[in-house]
């Protein structure tokens, strides 16, 4: 007997069909991975199941009854809880307030029972083996803890089906292990879990069954043990396993380096990062490796002038520069694709065309404008070049999937023809196909003489793509490896100390 079942779900957004008749079923007591590329329709399907959007056609059955949830709260009352990729909590409230929000325990007089609230919150967290001060503001804890608090909150209601949408993208290895332990425990208790992730290893570590979507259609549902990994990837991107092997082999490292593009001596900022030296040559790909919070992103922010440095000097192409605002960096042809796409990247209500032209226009200023035709041609060019999935450049960027938004941001900066491109976690939350595309693209750009600084939590990527790697720990540079010394083992050793 299936706990959740969807039949012929269809969804249309402004002329785009996001789902084309999806049948999907989850049993009680299983961990079910929902896989697919960006834009395949995973998030849309989840949002229909949880009542964020109404379906254009088809029906959802939960516990044997047909359900039409009108809001996520509605679904929550029925026993479906969801934890999204972006933590959807209130950072300025305490952990306990966050966990109990909307269902606060009451005293006899009807006031909120603050003591009882803390007790309940501690209990909910204990289920995940977390012991933190529940009276503290949520924002005082790391993203990883916040994510676990979100899960604790989801479990706190009488939950039969738990949906985890990319829960691991901001967690480190140990935290992921903890999470998996919790997931397995919940499975024992008979809970059904839908698990969405882009980390293929993780899928096989915990999932019982795998359902694959492609272009809004169901490819199939399989037992995890019967589906080899390469075949799963092949089904996701609609290519044969052979073609994938070719794609991965197609990445060629550039080895010809030119003059130094950017050099910084002892740049630092009190309380953010201890002074470091960074230099990079034309055609070189420099990796910044380290754990989350080790100072990787902070270096990027300082180079780009978002957080101006308070010590050290920098030169660009041999000339002394002082990037104390992004405008200056952009004018000197530096580009930063920052970590948090939603907050620092996309302008949601503008079109794809406007999002692409924005940085180029900003560097030109207010008066030097491009004609509409030039803008359209530029958008068209990058939509084709980066294979952005959209019916036209006039679509609002917020209607695109995460990976396609990321491609638009890459287009925005390629349009400025930068000399130095900084990519901060460009592959987070996007699928294998798009990841390979982005990796191949950066190599190609290096081949054309661009200098690339690459920041990623996935060490394999750093090791595979970079010509030199700076390793950071506790906001300090702890080492640098280059050439053939770059290996997973060496980098790990430096990170661990």
């Amino acid at each position: 007997m299936d706990l959740l079942q969807t039949k012929g779900i269809e969804k249309q957004f402004l002329g785009v069909k996001a789902l084309k008749g999806v049948d999907f079923a989850v049993k009680a007591g299983e961990i079910h991975a929902l896989m697919g590329e960006n834009g395949a329709g995973k998030s849309t399907l989840i949002k229909i199941i949880t009542g964020v959007y109404p379906a254009s056609a088809g029906s959802v059955y939960f516990n044997g009854k047909e359900c039409k949830f009108r809001s996520p709260l509605d679904a929550e009352h029925a026993g479906i809880s969801t934890v999204y990729q972006e933590v959807n909590l209130l950072p300025d409230l305490s952990v306990a307030e966050n966990i109990c929000i909307g269902r606060e325990p009451r005293t006899k007089l009807g006031f909120i029972d603050k003591k009882e609230r803390k007790v309940q919150a501690r209990k909910a967290l204990a289920r995940l083996d977390i012991d933190i001060n529940v009276g503290e503001n949520l924002s005082s804890y790391s993203i990883a803890i916040q994510q676990l608090v979100a899960i604790a909150r989801a479990l706190d209601v009488d939950c039969k089906l738990l949906i985890l949408d990319e829960p691991t993208s901001s967690l480190d290895e140990n935290e992921v292990k903890e999470l998996f332990k919790v997931m397995k425990k919940l499975r024992e208790e008979g809970m059904a879990i839908i698990f969405i992730t882009h980390f293929l290893d993780q899928v096989y570590e915990v999932s019982d069954r795998i359902t694959i979507l492609r272009d809004g259609q169901l490819v199939g549902s399989y037992d995890a043990k019967d589906l080899p990994r390469i075949e799963m990837v092949a089904k996701m991107i609609g290519k044969t396993p052979d073609e994938i092997n070719q794609m991965q082999a197609g990445i060629v490292k550039n080895t010809k380096f030119g003059d130094t593009v950017y050099e910084a001596k002892g740049i630092g900022r009190v309380g953010t990062i201890s002074p470091v030296d960074v230099s990079i040559r034309e055609g070189e790909q420099l990796g910044l490796a380290g754990l989350l919070g080790s100072g990787r992103s902070e270096i990027a922010q300082i180079i780009f002038g978002v957080d101006p440095h308070d010590s050290g000097t920098m030169t660009m192409c041999g000339k002394p520069v002082n990037f104390n605002s992004p405008q200056k960096a952009v004018k000197a042809k530096v580009a930063l694709i920052a970590e948090d796409r939603k907050v620092t990247g996309i302008i949601p209500d503008l079109t794809i065309r406007e999002n692409i032209m924005l940085a180029l226009q900003a560097s030109k200023g207010i008066w030097k404008t491009m004609t509409l035709k030039q803008q359209e041609e530029m958008a068209e060019k990058y939509i084709k070049l980066l294979r952005i999935k959209t019916p036209s450049g006039e679509q609002l960027i917020k209607h695109l999937s995460g990976g396609n938004q990321q491609k638009v941001l890459i287009a925005r900066w390629l349009a400025t023809n930068p000399k130095l491109l900084i990519l901060d976690e460009p592959t987070r939350g996007i699928d294998v196909g798009a990841k390979a595309e982005i990796e191949a693209l950066t190599q190609q750009l290096c081949g054309e003489g661009m200098a690339v600084i690459f920041i990623s939590s996935e060490l394999e990527e750093v090791v595979r793509d970079c010509d030199r790697v700076i390793v950071l720990r506790d906001r300090k540079k702890v080492g640098e490896v280059a050439g053939s010394d770059i290996s997973l083992k060496n980098v790990m050793k430096l990170i661990a100390g």
Partner: protein, 410 residues
Amino acid sequence: MNKSSNKFRHLVWPLVSLALLLLFNAIFTDNFFKIEVKKQDSAQAVQSTAVPDDLPGAAGTAAAQAAAEEVEAAKQTVKESAGQQAVPEKKDDKGVSIFGYYLYGTPIDILNQGSKVMVLAIGMTLVIATGGIDISVGAVMAIAGAIAALLISMLDAGNCIGAGMGPAWYWIIPVAAALVLSTLAGFWNGMLVAGFGIQPMVATLVLMVAGRGVAQLITDGQIITFDNPGLVFLCNGHALFLPFSVWIVVAMYVIAGLLTRKTAFGLFIESVGNNERASRYAGIEARRIKWLTYVICGFCAGVAGLLAASNIKCADSNNAGLYLELDAILATVIGGTSMAGGRFFLSGSLVGAILIQTLTTTMYMKNVSPAIVQVPKAMVVIIVCLLQSPVFRAKVLSVFASKAAKGGVQ
């Protein structure tokens, strides 16, 4: 769905509302649409039968007997002109028309009286599009009117530089001074908001409260009247068949349109309003963009202040532009610009301003007491806002759809 239909979609609901209001007037108000061509000669010259726009404000401070009398008088003139029984005729050789002819009638009057809010709405739209708000424009209007009236009275008395130009020309000095001062006021607001990061509502509240005091200081607490032909012409004169104020609005709208849509300024405003941090990361000088919108808004308030003073030929620091910031904000919102910032629609704001003025004028013509005039006005406004809400429309449609479905079964 083609591009052009998307481009004008935001105008649909305000225009529908305006059309409904005009239809109401066409049916229930005699001679509402009657427009006459008047020949300009000094005996026939008709002064605009304007209803002072600050009537609701005057009603609020009903203690001031003078204000109450003014309201009575205005109501009377409207009634008379609406009935076309006795068009109030006055000798007035200031309303000079270029070709000797001009149009006269209620719709024209609405445009003339609505000019202040239309001008304000242009600046307000840009500020709101950046995610901000400027509630000081009414007070800035009072300052602009005060400095203009003070200077013109000094010029008339001959104790100010420039008096040698003669009354036909020296009105330019007070106009320029008022615009400079109001632009400075906008600069001050922009500095507080963009420079120091104070929340827009709080930052502009400073000038909203203090501005009228500044205006009182300028006029020494007096209501200064003037009759300089140049200054009076702004809101009472005619050119090319229409009130001169309408041409001021047209010019401001065209300039604002060119400034925002033919340069990248509009795109940057929308970008900053939609996601300020990401805009900064894209290399846009977000603070400068925001600052600039407040400066423009201050300038617009200055123009509106001159129109208001010109209209009643005096600077009344207490009542000039009173509550007009609310009308300007309302016009902007009715026009489809979100208070959250982002996309903005100048044309929508103009339609919104006309809608509000039509509503106000209709109230007076229907003889609604100024004391309660805000109530029906609020009701119409809430209807317009509901019509604009996609959620509300979907709800209403679903009710109709289910009724239709039931009807189909029967």
